[in-house]
């Protein structure tokens, strides 16, 4: 399989402040790749370097076989980009902005725009400064998809989208993949990346912690489930399971931290009378505590 993005030793310092350090990464053509990390980890810095908005201190980025510095215009023709901090031309209407960007791309995207706008349910005839953040995000998605790019680079794409629109967005990603196009998306939300990507990388403090198949990551990710039992339960009950890493007991509430499938934990808990269950899935920091510890022994 050809490579959509190759990063080799990509490093960016802002003065003496580290942005990203020595990133090596290969994204295959035709896959949906998740770039996962907490806020401030260097996700947007990496994307900015790939698209030549900022210049790496050292290292290279190759996009669809083209050099990110030398062939920047050719790369931008093939890429659809959704900025993370989406700012827009507020005095234009949505339609005017899409027409403007389509002109700059020298493409006729009218039919594609109409279809995307209908699917995402967006009103294009209002000034952008009157849009809600959700609508601005939809507009950002439309402009990223409208020219059917070979590579989609989406920085935190689902922020501000309601669940129904999110589902529509996921199906857009599936269609892009079915057509052999590549999606590179960043996120700080683990379940989202688990749900929609094939492979993912985890970045923290500018350094790549791991690159793996999403199923593999799911196996290793730590989750937490909180049970409240009718009667107090001894922590040793759960510690007998090999996947369980930690058990905290406060009165009748037991917090179980484990890796891999929730199934054995649940079956064990079911032997007792369970009053409530709360799942703490979404917290990336705790989910990848193991990786973070490996990194520098500091679990921020």
């Amino acid at each position: 399989m050809a490579a959509a993005i190759i990063l080799e030793g990509l490093t960016k310092y802002y003065g003496s402040t580290l942005g990203i350090e020595d990133l090596d990464l290969e994204v295959h053509e035709g896959e949906i790749f998740g770039f996962l990390g907490p806020n401030g980890a260097g996700k947007s810095t990496t994307i900015s370097a790939i698209l030549d908005f900022i210049r790496p201190t050292s290292g290279t980025a190759t996009v669809l076989g083209l050099d990110s510095r030398r062939d920047v215009v050719a790369i931008h023709r093939l890429v659809g980009y959704l900025p993370g901090e989406l700012a827009m031309y507020g005095r234009m209407t949505g339609r005017e902005l899409l027409g403007y960007l389509a002109s700059l791309r020298n493409v006729n995207a009218k039919a594609e725009i109409a279809s995307l706008v209908a699917r995402l349910d967006l009103d294009l005839d209002r000034k952008i400064h009157t849009y809600s953040s959700g609508n601005r995000q939809k507009l950002g998605l439309v402009q990223a998809f409208m020219h059917r790019p070979r590579l989609l680079i989406l920085d935190e794409p689902t922020g501000g989208l309601d669940p129904i629109v999110q589902r529509e967005f996921y199906s857009l990603l599936d269609e892009a993949k079915a057509e052999g196009r590549t999606v590179f998306l960043s996120s700080h939300i683990l379940p989202e990346v688990e749900r929609i990507t094939d492979r993912a990388a985890i970045i923290r403090k500018g350094q790549l912690m791991v690159v793996a198949e999403i199923n593999e990551l799911k196996q290793q990710a730590q989750r937490r489930v909180e049970f409240t039992f009718a009667e107090p339960v001894e922590p040793e009950v759960f510690l007998s399971l090999s996947t369980v890493r930690e058990v905290d007991v406060v009165a009748r509430t037991v917090m179980v931290t484990f890796a891999g499938s929730v199934d054995p934990v649940l079956k064990l808990a079911a032997r007792y009378e369970v009053e409530t269950i709360v799942s703490h899935d979404g917290d990336l920091e705790s989910a990848f505590l193991a990786y973070y510890h490996e990194g520098d022994g500091d679990a921020a």
Binding site: L51, R55, P83
Partner: protein, 268 residues
């Protein structure tokens, strides 16, 4: 209009352009309109002006009273050598600032540059839009002068009116391209406006004060306002030398803007 960076730049200025044209048109119209009464009472005006400090004359773009009371001198004092030049420079500076630093300040530069438009092209199209709007505004000023000229017997030659406003546009573009260069180098809107406006005001005052303060005579020669004042294109026609100087300076600032913008990180 929203088919290119050039078109978008003009589109975004469509309302303010009308204000600039109307404002400067009124300034010229009123200036020319009151000139007949100045001419009629020229002795009284001359006495009044003689009693003023010499430095004031210089700020009005003239070196002596008789020059100030001639048609070209009077119009220079009100428009091309003073207020008009500053207003047109403000238009150019505001466009030069918005071109790069303003776009970055608004955080839309990454969206714009994610299209297949090179940084160089963004700068060049924005510069072309600035030339267009400054040119249109200066042409409107020239048109008002040409129409009013026979109505109040100014006896200015049409060629000189055109030459004067052509040089006026170049003067504004010197400051506008300076702002473009600072924006290209820094990408910071506040800094760009501050430096460009500061330099414009400083050069305006250096030129004005040089008549009073000997040691400013050297620096004065570096101010664009001086270039326009010494050749008096409205009275004597186009100065090839000053035109060339301004064109070269504008081209140099444009080159710096492209170089500065191409080499650095943008704010995203």
């Amino acid at each position: 209009m929203l088919h290119s960076v050039y078109g978008e730049t003009i589109w975004s200025r469509r309302n303010s352009l009308a204000l600039y044209v109307i404002g400067l048109g009124l300034l010229v119209g009123i200036t020319v309109g009151v000139y007949p009464s100045v001419r009629q009472d020229s002795e009284a005006f001359a006495q009044l002006l003689e009693s003023m400090p010499r430095g004031m004359l210089s700020f009005l773009g003239a070196s002596d009273v008789s020059e100030l009371l001639s048609p070209s001198g009077f119009i220079n004092s009100r428009v091309n050598g003073s207020v008009g030049a500053v207003v047109l420079a403000i238009l150019a500076i505001s466009m030069g600032t918005a071109a790069i630093a303003g776009e970055e300040d608004r955080r839309t530069m990454d969206l714009l540059l994610s299209t297949p438009i090179s940084r160089r092209r963004v700068v060049l199209e924005r510069f072309a839009a600035m030339v267009t709007l400054v040119g249109v505004t200066a042409a409107a000023v020239a048109l008002v002068m040409i129409v009013a000229n026979p109505m109040v017997d100014l006896e200015l030659s049409v060629a000189n009116i055109v030459a004067s406003n052509f040089e006026l546009a170049l003067l504004a573009l010197v400051f506008g391209s300076f702002a473009l260069a600072v924006g290209g180098l820094t990408g910071t809107r506040g800094l760009t406006i501050g430096i460009a406006a500061g330099v414009t005001v400083a050069t305006f005052f250096i030129n004005g004060l040089a008549q009073l303060v000997d040691w400013l005579e050297g620096p004065q020669k570096l101010t664009p306002f001086y270039w326009l004042q010494r050749s008096d294109p409205l009275g004597t026609g186009l100065s090839i030398e000053d035109t060339l100087i301004m064109v070269v300076v504008i081209a140099a600032f444009l080159a710096i803007a492209v170089w500065g913008f191409e080499r650095r990180d943008i704010s995203v």
